[in-house]
């Protein structure tokens, strides 16, 4: 099973790079959706079977895989934009940075003490790498929608780490966190719609009327 989980995690990292590298918003939304689905499946791979596990998996898959992508997709369609026009940082440099951060996170994870049974998992590095990619997207993209995507990727990174400590995290808290994420993204979706109505664009570099001069 371990190897399977690791392969999935590699897939997750790959998706990070896709969402870093692509300019087509719908595509990256889909990619993140896939990432969500994978994350939904992962617990099943590392934990023994239990109904609560099934429930979790189902919830995660529906929320991350379908509900949120739907929300964002609607926002994109209503704003009728196809692609992230000119990001603050070009795609190639972003990818390179992403690679660098991934490498760094592997190094960082190596320096942290871990359970022997987790030693040869990729969980920790993958989670940190995903976190970093999310951060990269947040800081380099111009469109509000891609910033939400960045936020989602970041959340996914956190979620991957959460997989390691299912027994420490009670269901209720797990669910609460998910709910918050869902509602948060939902509100963000609404706000995005408002932005596109107000500014007839999702370009956050237009949102600079509030500043000190």
């Amino acid at each position: 099973m371990i190897s399977l989980a690791d392969q999935f995690l590699v897939l997750v990292l790959l998706i990070n790079f896709i969402s870093l590298g692509t300019s087509r918003l719908i595509f990256s939304i889909r990619a993140v959706a896939v990432q969500g689905v994978i994350l939904g499946i992962l617990p099943g791979l590392i934990h023994p079977f239990s109904w609560h596990l099934v429930a979790i998996t189902l919830v995660i898959v529906t929320v991350k895989g379908f509900v949120i992508p739907q929300l964002l997709g609607r926002a994109v369609r209503s704003a009728e934009i196809k692609r992230e026009a000119e990001p603050f940082l070009g795609y190639v440099p972003t990818l390179l940075l992403g690679a660098l951060f991934t490498a760094l996170s592997f190094g960082f994870a190596g320096r942290l003490p871990m359970l022997p049974e987790h030693q040869n998992y990729m969980f920790v590095p993958a989670s940190i790498a995903t976190l970093m990619s999310g951060f990269l997207i947040l800081t380099t993209r111009r469109k509000a929608i891609s910033q939400v995507i960045g936020y989602l990727v970041l959340e996914n990174g956190i979620f991957i780490f959460g997989l390691l400590l299912a027994e420490a995290m009670p269901v209720m808290v797990e669910a609460g966190a998910l709910l918050d994420l869902l509602v948060g993204t939902f509100v963000m979706g609404i706000v995005i719609n408002q932005i596109s109505r107000e500014f007839s664009s999702l370009d956050t570099s237009l949102l600079t009327s509030l500043k000190e001069e």
Partner: protein, 665 residues
Amino acid sequence: MHFVLQGAFDPALVAIGAALVIGLAGIPGLFIRQPGPGQILSAVVTVLSATAGVPAVLQLLFSKTSTTYMLQWGLPFGLCELVIDPLSAFFLIPVFLVTAAGSIFAIGYWPAAEHSTNERGLTFFYGLLASSMAILLMARNGVFFIMVWEVMALSSYFLLVTEHEKAEVRRAGIVYLIATHFGTAALLVYFSLLAAQTGSFQLPVAGSLSAISPSATIVALAAIIGFGAKAGIMPLHVWLPSAHANAPSHVSAVMSGVMLKMGLYGIFRTLTYFHDPPLLWGGILTLCGITSALLGIAFAVAQRDLKRLLACSSIENIGIITTCLGVALLGVSSHNNTLIYLGMAGALLHVLNHSFFKTLLFLGSGAVIHAAGTREMNLMGGLGKSMPRVALLFLVGAVAICGIPPLNGFISEFILYLGLFLQLKADSLIYLVFLAPVLALVGGLAVIAFTKLYGSVFLGTPRCPDAVTHHEAGMTMQMPMIFFAVLCLFIGIAPQLALHLVSPAIAVCYPLLQLTELPAEYGVILGKISLSGVLLLSAVVIVSLFWRWRLGRAPVTSATTWGCGYQRGTARMQYGASSFSELAVSVFTGIIRQRIDRPVVNGLFPGTARCSDHPSETILERIIEPLFTMIGISFAFLRRLQHGLVHVYMMYIFATLFILMLWAN
């Protein structure tokens, strides 16, 4: 909250009660609908409590023991002690006298009927200021001290901005508020470090601390900054001229007559803590003092605004007091009882004297402004005829503040001179005597400043057209002035009595030194002074009688002033305030800076042109304001960091994360 009374009923209770009542005096007025009664009520209450307070305070001054009142308050800073020892009692005398006089003066000067918008607030904060000052002198808990101190500062600020619709007043207010807050910041450091040394927020007892530790130096420095900013010692005086000039006159009287003294009280109090002050402290104090005295009076000479001139002379007098204090401190360091005694006596006596004649002068200036409707001396003149009584009273104040016999100003300066001269006998610090000529110069400048003031305001003929509106001040305005004029003359004629007032206070400050024979010795000398004072007055009487006798024997006619051949002299041709000081300013240029607007006059028939001079606030305008502008510019540059780009904000977050990570490992 409950009182812990120790000992039976005593005058201290009366004094505390009086202070509290004065604080509440203004409150009824806030709720009385029609203007007037509230003001009169508060005046009556203030005067009554003052009349109750002064005897109590005097009794405390001469009593050997002082009661301690502990107030159990909810704040976590230890007990809140109230003590009135002779030093506090001594400073309480002017507090009660001046505030009472001011409240009477206000009835005539700031009638509620004419100032219905701001009279209530004025009366209320006036009472608050008065009582906060009184309680400040009793406070023995550092935190309580600061709280009362701030109440004093804030209430005086609100009094200052009574006419806040005027831009000038607002500006003066802001400068004052910032200055006083700066001082308070220093005091926070001061009390914290004291607490660090003593382990509690109670003020240390006299001579209990050693000045050797480095923190003691910081304590002293903080005290000089914090209290000096309130007292107006140079270079912390920047707020003073504009504040005193723009406040209502009776408020200026209280501010200058009493509030500045609170700062000095703090310094007095601080110096008592240490039994072994290094020479450096005394040196610094003396230097600050003499500088303030010289520069203060030099600025005063250049002023053209009546109240600004008085304010600058306050700086001078504070400087003289500080000099006395520094000299006394040097005496402590060099174990020279004579120097200690004469320095302290001069300082304390001048505190009293200054509060008397400066109040007299500010009240007088209030009466003048009330009559002339302006503070610009170049527009006044000839008020001596329309308001003869005020003119006489003002003359007393002017002569007194110049330190001229036979009035009280001379006495305190005389004591300082005596101390300096006696230093010639001492084996150390002999060069102190060089202060004497400087003081003499200060005296000379004071004479210039006040002849200028008196001449251009009261003498000659009116310069401004609306002189017809001039009127003698009402009785409510005159009575306080008469009171203080009498006090000035009394202390001037009977100085040896004044010496008895100060001795107990000195004994509190320096319990270690025996003050048995010293007062008697100097009492004799002061007796001689009073003798010559009497002689002088009698000489005046004799000469005037002789003159009257001669005057009766020959015809007395009156004519216009001899214009040296020019027949059409007009009022505007008189020597004005600015022209009077022009020569002195030109001699002392460099110390005194002023901007002179000279229009170019050319052509055969030049049009009308005005030449005017504007004395400049050197330190404020040349140093502090530019500094603020510079800081403002650099801040404006830094403010670009808040540029509104959300993704860069994100970067801030992650940068912080990384930095902390690196720091953590």
